[in-house]
């Protein structure tokens, strides 16, 4: 694309530049970093010295800029680089941030904003109030389109192997939207209750709050959501509209259930085949009830049957072709890892009392458990299944339970907390031992052990080394073997060609070598976790859907980069520690039943815990806006884009930054709530003011005594700014008058060095403020301190009265903050940077005769980017920049014409 002029920034200087160039007939591209044009002026209350309503006189400019036939506006856009072209113009790269809202569809109806569950400080209201992550910047914003602020993917969500929007359900619970939280998890898996209990919650280990008093208890919040849903009789799921296609799912563990659920929700007829007497796979048959009660799994499974998924139990499938012949358009194999590994020692199959852990746990769940009363049990293995077996054995009355594993305690595959809980219940741990043999006649009598020197070889492979001399034995009458499991490859040899140890499926598409057959979960990956199986299943479901619909099988859009936790913590000066939610674990020695160990969170606990969430990604991906948007305009898969343009000239109108008042700590900004900046007072006075009156932020009281501290961050070498910011006196004088208008009883006092009312009508405006009753006290303020009632004491020099040091109490203090340069733009030129002044403003190389001309030919600066300027000065300066930019374009045009002529 080619434009005559690139205008960077759309404050009053940028809009004026763009409009004037557009009026002259040049094609103009305006690049604005923020989500709306209008700059700082649109957010002001009124303007000095005319006291015109700022938004009333800004909106026509904004509208005219946005709609001008020669002006194109890109919001959310930043110039990323500029290179000089041979014709004197520039090639510009522009990075355009996505709004995650299609501006063509968005009608600006605010429904997303209403539905959004995340609140963040509103930068368009001086951070005095909150706005939502989905928002329209302000009432007069142009374009009047929503956007969703996404800093990236929240660490919890990013960490979830299942792809569950962890941050999303937390923010929904915080908002009291428990049903919606359930539905959000159910967008990924029906196993809401299961994951709320049996997931190892990698999300929590990534939680930014963990760096403070401890992570948000995400798993237990999910359990709360599931329990609440179950208590309410389950969420009545709307039966999806059925399509004509049917899918068979073989195996009903976490992967199978998830695939079936997601496909059924997309309208497929789904039938599940389960070899066991009841559905749920490892959830139902493996994990003990004290961790995962049977009724929880049954409730999760009921989610599927509620939307029409058929589950046939005691139905072992061993012929996929036959299944395909029954009219299933696709078959998904999710048979898990049911084949137990063997010790490989003599007596393993012959001695009585030697049992496999999977069978042992399944028997318990099916109610046909072996009585272990008084027995001495040795469990072999160091994984979670071994722990489950050991703790279950205790509950069945075993007198002693010994856990024997190769690994040292710190390298056991079982989670540390599980080992600790097992030991707390009375399991005796024998780590760094291998099994040398079994002793006994008909029944096992002892487990012979050998010392394990190391488990893994230097390459990290499982390859245990033993000390031939180190022997011991555990006297026992029952041995439970829990040393691993692997997928069943024998039943479907066509899916495991070449003696593969697991079913073979493409990692991206889940396709197996057999057309129409997909495989997923532990059957492919080997034993893993529920969350990983769910994640794989969710991806596979999308692929099966694509395949059945004849679409290209494409990888889903990658999530946004994870948010750095350090960045999150730096958003705020400090964080209050919150009391962590009690662990709620009922642990004790010699447990005698399978009752659930962990107490649920109360509603109050759940909401309070969710309230600790720091909203790392800003948007939580709770998806409420998606449901609320009537225009279907929201798309989380949208991504930033880059635009390249050629331009003839550049007008830089990037404005200024306000001085960060916290850099003057003696004035207490950021610590004392009733100390505000001039910008914040501007918002308190604006027609779109957040509280509809002037009140102090600390306690909402209407202030009776307001003090202004002039030159905060200006004329002050201690903060590195010896310059005068030029317009703070005037905006303060304006605010004085507006405050006295809004609060007729308020006293307003200005602590100043010099009142710089230099400009047409400005000194008259100063006189007007005096006449209205503003008190002017000459002398700098040394410090501000806070009283218990939130009032503030100013210590200052009263020069008018013999220079006494005086302390005076006020209800509210306004810091008249000055300006700081915004020269980010200067670095963007690839050949020759823009020269800056000593103070960091863009330098005007011939200010006397060519104000606005910079060190680079064809690049002009308009407004406060080259030094403090108020609105009319910015407009005049923009006029000067435009006159020269147009002259530059004319001479370039003349050169081109001459070249064409020659």
């Amino acid at each position: 694309m080619r434009y005559d002029a690139l205008v960077v920034g759309s404050g009053i200087g940028g809009m004026e530049s763009a409009l004037q160039l557009g009026e002259m007939g040049y094609k103009v591209l305006v690049v604005e970093k923020g989500p709306s044009i209008g700059g700082k002026m649109i957010l002001l209350s009124k303007v000095f010295p005319t006291l015109d309503c700022a938004s009333c006189i800004s909106t026509p400019k904004m509208g005219a800029t946005a709609h001008h036939r020669n002006v194109t506006v890109l919001t959310g856009a930043e110039v990323a680089g500029l290179a000089r072209e041979a014709d004197g113009g520039f090639h510009a790269k522009v990075h355009v941030a996505t709004r995650f809202v299609d501006p063509e569809r968005c009608t600006g109806c605010h429904q997303c904003e209403v539905a959004c569950t995340v609140s963040v400080p509103d930068q368009f209201n001086g951070e005095l109030v909150a706005r939502h992550a989905a928002y329209i910047p302000f009432p007069q914003a142009v374009p009047q389109k929503a956007l969703i602020e996404r800093a990236g993917t929240s660490p919890c969500t990013f960490a979830c192997p299942a792809g569950i929007k962890a941050h999303g359900y937390v923010s929904l619970v915080r908002a009291g939207l428990y049903g919606e939280a359930f539905d959000l998890v159910a967008e990924t898996t029906p196993l809401v209750g299961t994951l709320g209990r049996a997931c190892y919650a990698p999300c929590e280990s990534q939680c930014t709050r963990g760096a403070l008093e401890g992570p948000v208890p995400l798993r237990r919040i999910k359990r709360f959501v599931a329990d609440r849903s179950r208590a309410a009789g389950g969420r009545p799921a709307a039966p999806p509209e059925r399509n004509a296609k049917a899918v068979a799912v073989v195996g009903s563990g976490p992967a199978g259930l998830t695939v079936a659920w997601l496909l059924a929700r997309r309208g497929y007829g789904v039938k599940m085949f389960e070899a066991a007497p009841c559905p749920g796979g490892a959830l139902r048959m493996g994990i003990p009830s004290y961790r995962l009660p049977v009724e929880v799994v049954e409730a999760d499974v009921a989610n599927l049957t509620a939307i029409g998924v058929e589950i046939e139990c005691n139905a072992r499938v061993d012929d996929l072709a036959q299944l395909q012949g029954q009219g299933f358009d696709a078959v998904v194999v999710a048979t898990g890892a049911p084949v137990a590994a063997r010790l490989g020692v003599e007596g393993e199959d012959t001695l009585e009392g030697v049992i496999g852990a999977l069978d042992f746990l399944a028997d318990i769940k099916l109610g046909r458990a072996t009585e272990l009363s008084g027995r001495v049990v040795a469990v072999v293995g160091g994984g979670n299944v071994a722990i489950d077996a050991a703790r279950s054995a205790l509950r069945l009355g075993a007198a002693e339970v010994h856990l024997v594993c190769l690994e040292g305690r710190d390298e056991m595959p079982a989670h540390e907390f599980e080992v600790a809980e097992a030991c707390a219940e009375g399991v005796q741990l024998h780590d760094r031992w291998g099994v040398a043999g079994l002793e006994g006649g008909s029944r096992v009598e002892a487990l012979e052990l050998k010392t394990c020197l190391s488990v893994f070889d230097p390459d990290g492979r499982f390859n245990p080394r033993f000390d031939v001399g180190g022997h011991d034995e555990v006297v026992c009458d029952t041995v439970i073997v829990a040393i691993g499991a692997r997928p069943d490859t024998a039943t479907f040899p066509s899916l495991a060609p070449g003696g593969a140890r697991a079913l073979v499926a493409d990692s991206a598409t889940a396709k197996t070598p057999v057309r129409g057959v997909f495989a997923v979960g532990d059957a492919v990956s080997g034993p893993s976790t529920i969350a990983k199986a769910v994640g794989a299943a969710a991806r596979a479901a999308a692929m099966v859907d694509d395949w059945l619909q004849g679409r290209r099988l494409e990888a889903p859009v990658a999530p946004l980069a994870v948010v750095e936790r350090a960045d999150v913590l730096s958003r705020q000066a400090g964080y209050a520690q919150r009391p962590p939610v009690a662990a709620g674990l009922r642990l004790g020695p010699a447990p005698s039943n399978f009752a659930e160990l962990e107490a649920p969170l109360s509603e109050e606990e759940a909401r309070s815990a969710a309230g600790a969430c720091l909203d790392c990604g800003v948007c939580s991906e709770c998806h409420e806006c998606l449901a609320a948007c009537p225009a279907d305009a929201i798309d989380f898969a949208m991504r930033d884009s880059d635009v390249e343009v050629d331009v003839g000239t550049v007008v830089v109108s990037t404005g200024y930054h306000l001085f960060p008042a916290e850099l003057k700590p003696q004035y207490g900004y950021g610590r004392y709530k009733n100390v505000v900046t001039g910008e914040q007072m501007e918002r308190l006075l604006a027609p779109t003011r957040p509280f509809n009156t002037v009140l102090r932020p600390g306690d909402g009281r209407v202030p009776e005594r307001v003090a202004y501290v002039m030159c905060t961050g200006s004329r002050d070498e201690t903060v590195g700014n010896p310059l005068c910011s030029k317009f703070c006196c005037m905006y303060s004088l304006k605010q004085n008058q507006l405050i006295m208008g809004a609060l007729p009883l308020a006293d307003v006092t200005v602590h100043y060095i010099d009142i710089r009312a230099a400009g047409k009508g400005y000194d008259e405006f100063f006189e007007q403020a005096k006449a209205m009753g503003t008190n002017f006290v000459k002398g700098r303020v040394a410090r501000v301190s806070e009283l218990a009632n939130g009032n503030l004491v100013l210590r200052y020099e009263d020069i008018d009265n013999a220079g006494r040091i005086v302390e005076a109490e006020y209800d509210m203090v306004v810091l008249a903050v000055g300006v700081q340069p915004n020269a980010d733009f200067a670095r963007l030129f690839e050949h020759g940077e823009l020269a800056l002044t000593d103070h960091g403003y863009i330098e005007e190389v011939d200010e006397d005769l060519s104000p606005g001309a910079t060190s680079l030919a064809g690049v002009f600066v308009a407004g406060a980017a080259s030094g403090p300027r108020d609105i009319p000065e910015s407009i005049l300066h923009a006029g000067a920049a435009v006159a020269q930019a147009a002259a530059y374009l004319e001479s370039a045009g003349a050169r081109r014409a001459a070249e064409v002529g020659a």
């Binding site: 004037q20 009026e23 002259m24 007939g25 303007v47 010295p49 005319t50 309503c53 938004s55 009333c56 006189i57 909106t59 026509p60 509208g63 005219a64 709609h67 600006g108 009432p139 007069q140 914003a141 142009v142 374009p143 009047q144 027609p687 003011r689 004329r715 010896p722 310059l723 005068c724 030029k726 010099d754 009142i755 710089r756 009312a757 230099a758 400009g759 047409k760 009508g761 000194d763 008259e764 013999a802 200010e847 006397d848 005769l849 104000p851 606005g852 403090p868 609105i871 009319p872 000065e873 407009i875 005049l876 923009a878 006029g879 000067a880 435009v882 006159a883 020269q884 002259a887 004319e890």
Partner: protein
């Protein structure tokens, strides 16, 4: 009258209106007005969102009339006309009703009364809108030449800027040479560049631009014509030159305040003004001398002739100029004691650095209270300044000095002839007034006349040049299109009703009406050449009046004087005005609150809607 389809939009103006006017009540009161098909309220009617909504209403409801009740038409008439045009509605079918400046802001003490008045005003606006008809602007080609009045730094730079946009320029300077005040100056703040050098460079630049014609010793004496096509007369050495120009840029500069004799010792030896001091510095080398002796001490008395009852304005440049001068004297007379007796030091922006530097180099600053100015006396042949210094606890300090410098400010230059010729608006401070000091600082209410530099108000030289170039931009944006659109809201004569009395010809302040033999159409969207754009051609023996569309400003002076009612003003026809008055006369006496039966004219009972309207937009 045929029935209309009118949309009515009532603005809250974010509280500016709705804090005092019950907007939903206004909506309720007018929603059942005949011809009104949609009524809505909005937080900011001018916001893009509401404009979009009105846009789609125009399309969806096939609106043929539009009323927005919001602020002054000065602010948003063009906003909504433009929006209407984009939506396919003729812009002149739009009426803006002012319920802010003329209602909510004026009646902050009486919300109920303000609400009643707003209802009346909106009804009147609807009544007027019933009589609108589509109008098309007259398009005229513009003259691609600009007259710049004033050959100082600002005027010269503007002339160069205009030429660089491809426009012809005539630069008129009253004195014999170009350069103005800066042309006679030595080093100037903030960059220390010599004024005479700057002017010399501009003179060279002008010399290289054949598009610029310089007339020195010349004065503008007459201006006539219409927007984009003016005839000006310039008197040069007793000769009158007539020129066609598209725009006029005024850059006539300022005058120094002249102290009265006796004012702060003015008239005593050793008491001089800042410009006099600067001129002495610029015209000499080496140490500054007074009475043949090296000057060892100076007191600068600030704000002489500024910020007082006679001249309430601040002259803006003098603080910085004085500090800059003090720094020069520090160089030329090392060790000289310099006392700055001031009220507020206004060395704004980067000029603050000069202030800091001067303090570091020994300048002393003494602040006097506004009501306690310093005194100057001459005793025993020596000047003495007495000041009660607030910075020294109000102590009275006597400063014996060699020189007292009165820091005199800028005042408006007396230029009555030019004001008369251009009808320039003059402010209370004597400087020329812009349309809007905030957003339109170089435009004036006079079509085609732009102001810049210090004739508009005190400025530094760099600020003056910036405003000169801003004037270039404004003029360029207007002329480079090649054509101008003239407001079609002009008068026209019904020739059949005209009795040829020619009273209207006298009444027209713009000479746009003439007596012609045959009827001429007024307005109508046709393209007019500059030659045609003059006044109507009078036809000898003509019997009826005719209005030249390009000359008529739509002021309406002709219509009421016409004895036969033959003249109507498009957009403000007699029928419309009568309807507006009728609507306003149908006052609503005494409803308290927003609901209930009220008594209308003739005892008719009117019902004011109680419930909030269904189509409320926030």
């Amino acid at each position: 009258m045929t029935s209309r389809r009118i949309g009515v939009y009532i603005c809250h103006c974010g509280g500016n209106i709705s804090d005092y006017v019950d907007v939903p009540a206004v909506v309720g009161a007018v929603r059942d007005e005949p011809d009104v098909v949609v009524v809505r309220d909005a937080m900011f009617t001018c916001s893009d969102l509401t404009q979009q909504e009105i846009f789609s209403d125009i399309v969806e409801h096939r609106l043929d009339g539009l009323v927005v009740a919001s602020c002054s038409p000065k602010l948003h008439t063009f906003t909504f006309r433009e929006m209407a045009r984009r939506a396919g509605l003729n812009p002149y079918e739009y009426t803006q009703v002012n319920i802010r400046e003329q209602c909510s802001w004026a009646h902050t003490d009486d919300p109920q009364g303000a609400t009643r008045k707003a209802i009346s005003l909106v009804r009147a606006g609807i009544a007027g809108t019933r009589g609108t008809r589509p109008l098309e602007p007259t398009v005229v080609e513009t003259t691609q030449r600009v007259l710049v009045v004033g050959g100082g730094l600002t005027g010269m730079r503007a002339a160069i800027g205009l030429a660089d946009l491809g426009l012809a320029v005539v630069l008129v300077e009253k004195t014999a040479t170009l350069g103005g005040r800066v042309g006679g100056m030595g080093p100037m703040f903030p960059h220390g560049r010599v004024g005479a050098d700057l002017v010399a460079r501009l003179r060279d630049d002008i010399g290289r631009r054949p598009a610029v014609t310089v007339l020195t010793g010349a004065e503008l004496v007459a201006k006539s014509g219409t927007y984009g096509n003016y005839h000006v007369v310039v008197a040069v050495g007793g000769e009158r030159r007539e020129l066609a120009v598209g725009q006029v840029v005024v850059a006539t500069g300022f005058a120094d305040y002249e102290p009265h004799i006796g004012e702060l010792g003015y008239g005593m030896p050793g008491v001089l003004t800042l410009p006099e001091l600067v001129s002495r510095l610029d015209s000499s080398h080496g140490p500054l001398l007074h009475d043949g002796r090296r000057v060892g001490s100076i007191a600068y008395l600030y704000c002489v002739g500024s910020r007082n009852e006679e001249h309430s304005h601040c002259s803006k440049y003098c603080c910085s100029a004085t500090v800059h001068t003090a720094l020069r004297i520090t160089e030329r007379n090392p060790g000289a004691r310099q006392y700055h007796v001031y009220r507020d030091m206004r060395t704004y922006g980067r000029n603050e650095e000069m202030l800091t530097q001067s303090r570091r180099r020994g300048s002393l600053y003494l602040k006097f209270a506004d009501d306690d100015p310093p005194e100057v006396a001459r005793e025993h042949g020596r000047l003495e300044v007495t000041v009660r210094d607030l910075l020294s606890a109000g102590e009275e300090i006597r400063l014996p000095v060699d020189l007292v410098v009165l820091v005199t400010g800028m005042v408006a230059r007396q230029n009555r002839e030019l004001v008369d010729v251009l009808k320039l608006p003059v402010g209370r401070d004597g400087f020329f007034n812009e349309i809007h000091p905030k957003l339109r600082p170089v435009e004036t209410v006079v079509d085609g006349v732009t102001i810049c530099g210090t004739c508009q108000g005190p400025k530094t030289s760099a600020e003056s040049v910036a405003s000169g170039l801003a004037a270039v931009t404004h003029v360029g944006a207007m002329l480079k299109r090649g054509v101008a659109e003239l407001d079609p809201q002009v008068a026209s004569v019904n020739p059949e009703a005209c009795n040829g009395c020619a009273v209207c010809v006298e009444a027209c302040p713009f000479g746009a009406i003439s007596m012609v033999g045959a009827p001429r159409p007024a307005g109508g969207g046709h393209r007019v050449t500059p030659a045609e754009a003059g006044s109507g051609e009078a036809s000898p023996g003509g019997l009826v009046a005719a209005v030249a569309a390009t000359g008529c400003k739509g002021c309406g002076a002709c219509a009421p004087v016409c004895p036969t009612g033959a003249i109507d003003l498009a957009g403000y026809t007699d029928a419309q005005v009568t309807a507006i008055i009728d609507a306003l006369a149908m006052d609503l006496p005494g409803p308290e609150g927003r609901t209930g039966d009220v008594v209308g004219p003739g005892g008719a009972r009117l019902r004011v809607a109680a419930e909030a309207p269904a189509e409320v937009v926030r």
